[in-house]
Each structure stands twice: as C-alpha cells, then as structure tokens.
Amino acid sequence: MSDKPKAIKGAASTSDEFDYSAGLAVIPADKIADPGLEPHHVRMTDKSKKHEKAAARQVALLFFVSIIGSAAALVIYFLFPLSTTEFGPVRENTFWLGLAIALGTLALGIGAVHWAKTLMPAAEQAEARHQTRGSEETRARAVEIIKLADQESGFSRRKLIRRSLYTALAFFPLPGILVFGDLGPNPGSTLRHTKWAKGVRLVHDPYGAPIKASDVTEGSVFHVVPENIDPEDHDYLEQKAKAAVLLVGVNPEDLTIAPDRKGWDYDGIVAYSKICTHVGCPVALFEQDTHHLLCPCHQSTFDLNKGCEVIFGPASRPLPQLPITVDAEGYLIAQSDFHEPVGPSFWDRSIN
C-alpha cells in the first residue's frame, strides 16, 4: 500500500504488512499471537475425479429433492382443501404444506452449501481490512468541500437566514409536547381503588348471581366480582381485573386473624384479592387441605388461614383482604373497598 500513513506514536503495530492506528484500543503487552492461517486442507473432491463426480451428483440430487418438495406443496394445497367451518382441515393443510415447503427450502439450501463446500475452489484467501482513517489528501479534500459548501450557501455569511432557521427549528418540536401530553391522563387514584364499596354485593363470576353466606360451605371456593361492574362500561375489563376476588369458606377456628382485621371475615368466610402482589397474575390455585394459595406464574404461595401471608416465592406482601359481612337478606356484601392498593407493589401504599 503506497499511501500507508505513519503509525500513531505509542500504538503497537498489529501486522507485519500493515500499520494500523490502534485508536483508543488498549493493546496488552502479553497479547496472544496471531496464529495465522491454517494449513491448506486438500479435499477428496480435489484429489479424485470419482469423488468430484459423486459430489456433483449429490448436489444435483439435493436440487431434485427440492423440486419434489415444492411440487408436492402445490399438490398438497389442493389435496387438503381448507374449510371455512372446521378447524381439522386447517391442521392437515398447514402440517403437510409446511412439511413440503420445508423440504423444498432445506434441500435447496443444503445443496447450495454442499456445492460450495465440495466443488467450488477451497484455497484460503486473506483480505485485509482497509484503514478507517482516510489519507491526508482525502481529508484535505473533504475540508475543502465543506468550506466551499459554506461559502456557496452563505450559511456563515447570511446571519438573518441562519438565525431564523435556528429559531424555526427550536419552535418545530413544541406542538409535540401538546400531542404527547394527550397520551395521558395520569392514572391518578385509579391504581388505589376498585369498584368495591360499602354494601356492594359479592356476585358470581361470570353470571352475576349474588351469594348467600349459607351457601359458602367449608372448603368451597367462589370466584367473585362486585355486582356494580357493568359489561357495558368502557372500562369493564379493567374494573373486573382489579376487583376480582377469591371467596373461600374455612373452619373459623382455623383462622389466625390479625387484631386490625377483626370482623373482616364472616363466620369463617374470607375474601382476598385474586391479583398477585408480585406482578399481578391471578392467584387462584387453592389447596383445600394445606390452605395454600398458589400463584401459577412464579410460585408465590400465600397462607390463606394466616391473612394470606407470603410463605414462599417472590411476592413481598400478603394479598389484600376484602372486609365482608352480610346484608338483611343474608347475601354477602363488602364492608368497604380494599384497605390498600391491589396488585403489584409500587412505591406508595396509601389509598388516598
């Protein structure tokens, strides 16, 4: 290379042939030496005509298999017609079609690679990378071009244009602030409240029948939503997802009730938020005998008889408890909303 630049002072030369600027790279003193190229490997197809011919036939055979695969795909498409009313034919169609197309593509690719590996020249070649830094002439020419452009456009000379352009560019993104502002609003207090409130009946999910306390026998589990969520509401699913509750009947003697939660259960019937305090999966795997509640996502386990405290897994808080009682007709109702935000923990536990 004729326009070889001088190596920067202090940088090590990395090759016998070329001088490289090492830039900011750290070159260790005990660097592993470049092993150079492997010795040339002579293939059977280079040595014997017989093997060469065999390889050529193999490549052609692979291409022929590819033809068969693609042709089979055409036939299969008509052999397994799709149906608009049944799923079964879709399965047959996609399975066989996929298999045939895979055969067509794979055989084509394998054939091409086999051809390159066995029959195309196998001589090793080294091709050095060019330098990142341009030659002095190229650099000088670049500066010249930039100066000429500045001169011809008058960017430095015409102050009025330049300053008005800067101002225009400064104003340009301002409407975006308003547009992106509309992505809100902030969640406000919606993370802290659910549809549960004093006197709201606990009803069956999904058909909405109210539940009598006498129906909740020991060991039974009810999947419950508040009666005041309406499938017609635009935020029905959000409300349902926040307010989902698991109602369990246990032997009142087995319950360990914290002093601040006295009276939150009704005769051994307890209601807990179904939303895991870890990342919000529905915790509903209830083991009647061990009174464990298991979250299927990350195996957080809660002890239902002890205020749903965490006994295993990544959740860090107990499941929030819904205080319940019964109304005059004996149906289960909520005493209030949850006393803490439901779902995954975040920085603020207050409900206001």
Binding site: A122, T217, S220, F286
Partner: protein, 273 residues
Amino acid sequence: MSLFRRNVNGARRHPMAAVAVIALGLIVSGGGYAAATAAVHPASNSTAADTQLVAEGKKLFLGNCASCHGKNAAGEVDANGKQVFPTLIGVGAASVDFQVGTGRMPAQASGPQMMKKTVQFTDHQIAALAAYVQSLDPTGPTVPDAKWLDGKGDTTRGGELFRINCAMCHNAAGAGGALTEGKFAPGLNGVKERHIYEAMITGPQNMPVFSDKNLSPDDKRDIISYLKYLEKNPSSGGYELANLGPVVEGLFAWIIALGLLVLITMWLAAKSN
C-alpha cells in the same frame, strides 16, 4: 242402617243389594291391601338389600380401610390434635365412589398426594363400601344422577365455567398442572363423567368443594360436557406438547429447535472432507 230400611212405598231393596255391598267392600279392602302391600313390598325388599349391602360394605371396610380410617371410620388424630387420617363420617357415597372408583383408595403409600392406580374393587364392592359410608351419615353427598352425566350440556357455557373455576389448576385444556410441594392437579382427559362430578361435590384431597349452590348440577353437567367435547376434538393448531403451555413449548424451542440450528451452523462452518 239405611241399607235395610224400607223405602217410602214399603218395597225392600233388591235382595242382591247386600251381597253387592259386601262384594264391593271385599274388593275395595282386598284390592287396597294388595295395592298397599305392592307399594310397601319392594321398599321393604330394597331396605333388606340395602341392609345387606351396608353389611357387606362394613365387612369390606373393616378388612381394607379400617387400618387407617379406624374401626368406627372416624379417622385418626395424633397427639398434637392433627388429623392424620381423615374421618369418613359425612363424606358420603360420592366420595367413596370417587376415591375407590379411581383407585386412589386404598392408598398404596403416604406421600404428597394419593395417586390414581388400578381399581382394587369390583363395582359391586365399591357400591357396598359407598352404602356403608353413606349409612354412617346419610347427609353426605350421594353418587350423582345419570341425567347430569350425559355430556349433552352447553359446552360453551361449560368452557366458560371451567376456565373461571377449574382452569387455574387443571389447565384450560384439562391437562392438569403442578401445585405446591409435590402435589398436582391431575389431567382430566379420560376421567369418567361420574368421577368428575363427584370430585366437584366432594373436593378430594386438596381440591376445593364446588357445592350445588356454587356450581348448580346444570353447571356441572355443562362442565363435564365441555371436558368430553375436548376429548373428542383434538387441537387443530399442530402438535400440542401435552397442552402444558409455555414451559414445555419453551423447552422444545430452546433445546430441540435451537439445538438443530446450532448443528446446522456447525455443519456450515466445517470444512468438507
């Protein structure tokens, strides 16, 4: 005795009147007795059969179950007051039919969960055991009526109820799933309709109870119909990998599919011989 009183014009009643009355009386009382015995007889017969079945069940119970559940079927409580073997009083015939009918009982060994295995008793013996346990407390749940087990309910509704009440443990496709400490919810494919129903009303082992007030018999029929529908309609999307979901699918993709890609890459880079 108006029958024998002379009527207004002095003529007596037809001489055969008394005979007719007596004959009528005999027919009514005799027929009534016959009808009454006919009504009572099968009942007394079945009570006798029941008593015999209960006695047979008791014999089987004492021979096969009493070593754990106790001679009086009250189970066993250890020194700390913990129930080590459950009482069978009040569990009902449905519970016996489920536990013994699926081979879970008699238990082979203690462990996290009693496993399903070859059924150890004949249908008649199971019925006898069930009758005996039912006789201990007649309020226990009984074996369900065949009309809830026909599998002809509303599968759409059954699917929705299944996904809300059952799928979190048993998997949306009924393939079963893991619980804590070695316990698991068994797969429901191939489980008899009767046993599904009985599991819901009795809550065997760690399964919660789904009483008729929670899921009505109609709801249960729909759920069973949905499960039977699933058995008959395999997945149309391709190979299900036992329907176990993302863990198995991920394992397949990472080990089998990615492994294959690694092998192909190695072949691409290897020199030809």
